[in-house]
């Protein structure tokens, strides 16, 4: 990649990594990652456990500081523009954990307000939750009664309410049944169509192929290859993946 990166589509990237590196003690968790994700792109990071997928997401969130390089959100360096970059981001972890004693509506109201959306009216909050796939009755119930899929939908609702430019997903469909996974993918697709840039870390090759516009395969902290999902079939993706993650790189 060049210094002034452009995304795959040519548009200014909303998520960008420039030589992004993270060391934990003597272990390199992420090694000189260069990446650019444009509006409307869904970039899926594939790789075995410890490949550096979650570290990449944590670096974009500012949860950890880079050892070298930069993570940029809409051109803003996360290290120096923590709040501004977070205002443009939404994050859905593997387990969306909410306040169990509060309802979905109350949780959404809280996180949307924290995200800078002010105090939304109850009707608007219900609308957003319904848009994210929850029915009105469920939205008013305590989260302690929710399934994982329902909590993921609240996570999506937070992203919708926040009007985020970029969405970071860390294995969001892990543990969801196929129906819930499909619903989730449909929601991501809807956000993508609105111009949201999505970076999704996943182990699910099938979903990466179906949901993503590009996939990047990581191994031992390095991005070893990038593929366009439009140009590759499910079987080919699996073959390429297995080729690259066979244990020939070794930890550094």
């Amino acid at each position: 990649m060049t210094e002034s990166q452009e995304s795959h589509t040519g548009a200014a990237p909303l998520l960008e990594a420039r030589g992004l590196t993270k060391d934990y003690g003597g272990t390199r968790a992420l090694d000189s990652l260069d990446l650019a994700i444009a509006p409307g792109e869904v970039y899926c990071l594939l790789g075995p456990n410890g490949a550096g997928k979650t570290t990449t997401i944590n670096l974009f969130l500012g949860f950890v500081a880079p050892s070298a390089g930069q993570a940029l959100v809409a051109g803003l360096n996360v290290s120096t523009h923590d709040r501004e970059s977070k205002r443009r981001l939404a994050y859905i972890p593997e387990q969306v954990m909410l306040y169990r004693n509060l309802s979905g509506i109350e949780n959404l109201e809280y996180f949307a307000a924290l995200g800078g959306q002010g105090s939304l009216r109850r009707e608007r909050l219900v609308e957003i939750l319904v848009e994210a796939g929850l029915d009105g009755e469920t939205a008013g119930r305590r989260v302690s009664t929710y399934s994982k899929g329902m909590r993921q939908k609240v996570g999506i609702a937070i992203a919708i309410a926040k009007k985020a430019d970029a969405l970071l997903l860390d294995e969001p469909t892990s543990g969801l049944d196929p129906t819930a996974s499909n619903e989730f993918s449909a929601l991501v697709e809807r956000l993508r169509n609105r111009g949201v840039a999505v970076l999704m870390a996943t182990h699910d090759l099938f979903r990466a192929k179906d949901t993503g516009t590009r996939v990047g395969i990581m191994h031992y902290g390095r991005l070893v290859t990038e593929l366009s999902t439009a140009e590759i079939g499910h079987a080919d993706l699996e073959r390429v993946y297995l080729e690259h993650v066979s244990d020939n790189g070794g930890p550094r």
Binding site: N58, R83, P93, L98, R100, F111, I158
Partner: protein, 476 residues
């Protein structure tokens, strides 16, 4: 916006948390019980003060009537209680009771008022032994552990409530997974934790100050707004110290169970162990002379004095030549002989009392030097000073009573030495005690040092917590 958002969410979480609501309710009940205890004690003290004050008036009035009756040609009711005798008029039957009115906020802090005498019967025989005795009958257990008043609840129980509300203020968010979602928003852990703790501080301070103000309102404490302010500042500073400690422990990034263990340990050390250790060290290093020693000295001196009355009278007149006029050394009156013996006993008792006072002063100095180690001791001192029931006010009262007892003796002893008779006319000139409550002027001044140290500790721990919280990200 963030502060309002977090405050609103905290309120919802509190309302949805039944065990926490029960804990808060229990605390309110305990505070109510503590306040009731304080009010009951205050009423008891007020009744005692009223009774002793009216006793002074009744005694003076009865003596005046008897003296006037005798001057009109009547006989004294008893030849051994002739009010014309200065030994009778200035003795126990004519004594004046010096009273310390309850402190302005006694209902909030009983303090030392159930341990230290707040009235003394002053007469010519008042001596150091009188100041070493407490005539009140009191349950020894009450004296040992103190009464369950608002000060006790604030010093001992309030930290436990603060810790129950805040030991997991951050660790729980981390453990239940909400921290990552929170910190993916444009907010810092420091600001979120600060607002969360501020909300809890508002709840705790609101409850404690609400009950305190209610108590002050019910017992006329609003006459001393400065004291109420000082009380409130101390409660808030002490609460904030514990909140800051909880914030710092949370910022270390350990589990809720670890936080709870460390914070309860800190409570045990700072509130229970250290104050007890400091008191024990004071008693061990500077033991008070036994009261038996005082009683023995009094008896020995009395026996000796009875045996050597004439010799003692001669020595007394050498020491007090102004008294020699009117006394015929070869034929001393019974009063002169008796007074010389009393004076000798007093002298011996003063020696024992001086030793006692010196040791007590050493003990106090040691406790005062090391009280800075325990925020509980600092808070207690400031609260008692605010309420007017601390050591200082009682010491001030006792020293004023000593001066008054001296004035009393100076009024009656010359007449005793001269074997003069007194009449109703002198009653108007008999000294009366009126307390100059120096304490009321400077409780804030005295509470400055403990409050400043408390504020310093708070700032130190708060800053350390702030620095650590500033480093908290979402993925640690």
């Amino acid at each position: 916006m963030t502060a309002r958002t977090v405050l609103k969410n905290e309120w919802r979480l509190l309302m949805a948390d039944r065990p926490l609501k029960i804990a808060l309710g229990l605390f309110v009940v305990l505070l109510g019980y503590a306040l009731t205890n304080g009010v009951v004690w205050l009423r008891f003290q007020e009744r005692t003060v009223e009774a002793t004050t009216s006793g002074n008036v009744e005694r003076a009035s009865a003596l005046r009537q008897e003296l006037e009756a005798i001057e009109a040609g009547g006989q004294p009711s008893s030849p051994f209680a002739d009010p014309r005798s200065p030994r009778v008029l200035g003795g126990p039957s004519g004594s004046h009771t010096a009273v310390l009115a309850p402190g302005p906020l006694t209902a909030l802090a009983i303090g030392q008022s159930d341990l230290l005498p707040y009235y003394y019967d002053v007469n010519i025989y008042t001596n150091e032994a009188s100041f070493q005795q407490n005539g009140e009958v009191e349950n020894p257990l009450n004296l040992m552990v103190g009464r369950f008043d608002l000060t006790f609840a604030v010093v001992y129980l309030l930290p436990l409530l603060v810790l129950a509300l805040s030991f997991n203020v951050l660790s729980e968010e981390r453990e239940q997974g909400t921290l990552a979602l929170t910190l993916s928003q444009p907010v810092s852990a420091r600001s979120v934790v600060t607002v969360k703790l501020a909300f809890r501080a508002l709840v705790v301070a609101g409850i404690v100050l609400g009950v305190s103000l209610l108590g002050a309102l019910a017992t006329g404490g609003f006459g001393s707004p400065g004291r109420i302010l000082l009380w409130s500042v101390t409660v808030v500073a002490y609460s904030l110290f514990w909140f800051a400690l909880a914030a710092w422990v949370n910022a270390l990034g350990r589990s809720s169970a670890w936080n709870a263990t460390v914070l309860v340990g800190a409570w045990l050390v700072l509130v229970v162990v250290l104050p007890a250790a400091i008191n024990a060290a004071a008693g061990l290093l500077h033991p008070l002379p036994s009261r038996v020693e005082m009683v023995t000295a009094q008896r020995e001196a009395s026996n000796d004095a009875v045996n050597r009355r004439s010799e003692l009278l001669a020595r007394y007149l050498e020491d007090h030549p102004e008294m020699a006029e009117g006394v015929v050394a070869d034929e001393p009156g019974l009063g002169a002989l008796s007074w010389a013996a009393t004076d000798a006993v007093n002298g011996r008792l003063e020696e024992v009392a001086a030793e006692h006072d010196a040791r007590r002063a050493e003990q106090t100095a040691l406790v005062r030097r090391y009280r800075f180690l325990s925020p509980a001791l600092l808070a207690q001192e400031a609260l008692l000073d605010a309420a007017g029931t601390g050591d200082a006010r009682f010491a001030d009262f006792q020293s004023q009573v000593r001066v008054f007892a001296e004035q009393w003796r100076e009024f009656f002893v010359p007449a005793i030495m001269a074997d003069e008779q007194m009449n109703a006319g002198v009653l108007a000139d008999v000294p009366t005690f009126s307390l100059v409550d120096g304490d009321s002027a400077d409780p804030a001044c005295r509470a400055t040092a403990p409050l400043a140290v408390l504020a310093g500790l708070l700032a130190l721990i708060g800053a350390a917590a702030g620095v650590r919280l500033g480093r908290v990200r979402g993925a640690d």
